[in-house]
Amino acid sequence: GGAMSFLKRFPPPAEGVRHRQPDTEAVLAGRSLGSGTLYIAESRLSWLENSGVGFSLDYPTISLHAVSRDLSAYPWEHLYVMVNAKFEEEETKEAPVAEGEEEEDSDDDAEPIAEFRFVPSDKSALEAMFSAMCECQALHPDPDDEDSDNDYEGEEYDVEARELEQGDIPSFYTYEEGLLHLTAEGQATLERLEGMLAQSVSSQYNMAGVRTEDSIREFEDGMEVDIAPVVAGQFEDAEVDH
């Protein structure tokens, strides 16, 4: 036979290689491409035969990948990779045992599918290969997400900025921010409410409507503010009206 026409010569990836697996056979649609090294890199998935030719797959084109140890389905444990792309192959008759033959699919034009299997000689590496691929896939989120309600880049959803207190126009304040924006009256109200919270579990309740010496508290700025009398339990959940 001859070489698959999509095989090219290129240098192995040098950067962002999460996993490198030598002695790995690559199989496309049931046909072996030879033995080589699989490079699971952040930018793309590459396989290079020992002779130096190979191919790369871009993660956005990979629909799924899996670890197969089911020997009744395929005789060797391998990493299965399904790709949304067409790969040219030689037109030779495939052995009946070959799976995933795709020339006869009538819906190929609408949805080209190519099935690769990467069979490492070291079967124990399959877990690491699978995980490395999951990590790299996660680095390539789908750019044209059909569900484009996911417009989360706008200000409204800039939760991160708010959480870091760097948001432009927050619709709510964190505690620290809020303090900076209080007027003197607001400050006094806050302190009164704080006082109420602090006292709400204490046993000192004032008689309703009776202003006693205890109910007048002196605040740091000298302002005297009534603490509205609390009837035990009755208004625990209510906002204080004043």
């Binding site: 799924l64 996660a138 939760v159 991160e160």
Partner: protein, 123 residues
């Protein structure tokens, strides 16, 4: 049930039904894929982009051939349907996930976020 460490992913999750899928971790779930294959397995992880990882999978390819896969990762783009298991209480699951996200947001991050009971300044 784990909440993502990414603020952006948490925001996406709480504003879409992905949050329901994230509450299905550990459940045996059937996923119909875009190419008409189906995968049934234990849901190990779903991220905000609906990328899903399943374990102990029975995979039926688009031609009907069945095989077992130890682990499967499918990109969100290629998920067509997720069958919510019968035993799952959908509303309770969503509420639980929302609570988990809010816990992380308001109490999990260092010193940030509102303090529920500010200390009184005096005394």
């Amino acid at each position: 049930m784990e909440v993502s460490h990414s603020v952006k992913e948490r925001t996406i999750a709480e504003n879409s039904l992905v949050i329901l899928l994230q509450g299905l971790h550990g459940h045996v779930t059937t996923v119909d894929l875009r190419d008409e294959s189906t995968a049934t397995g234990r849901l190990a992880n779903v991220d905000a982009f609906m990328n899903m990882r399943l374990a102990e999978v029975t995979f039926t390819d688009r031609r009907g051939a069945v095989s077992q896969l130890d682990e499967l990762f499918v990109t969100g783009r290629n998920v067509r349907y997720v069958h919510i298991p019968d035993e799952v209480d959908i509303r309770a699951t969503i509420e639980r996930q929302l609570q988990a996200i809010h816990r992380v947001r308001y109490f999990g991050a260092r010193d940030k976020g509102r303090k529920e009971f500010p200390r009184a300044k005096h005394k």
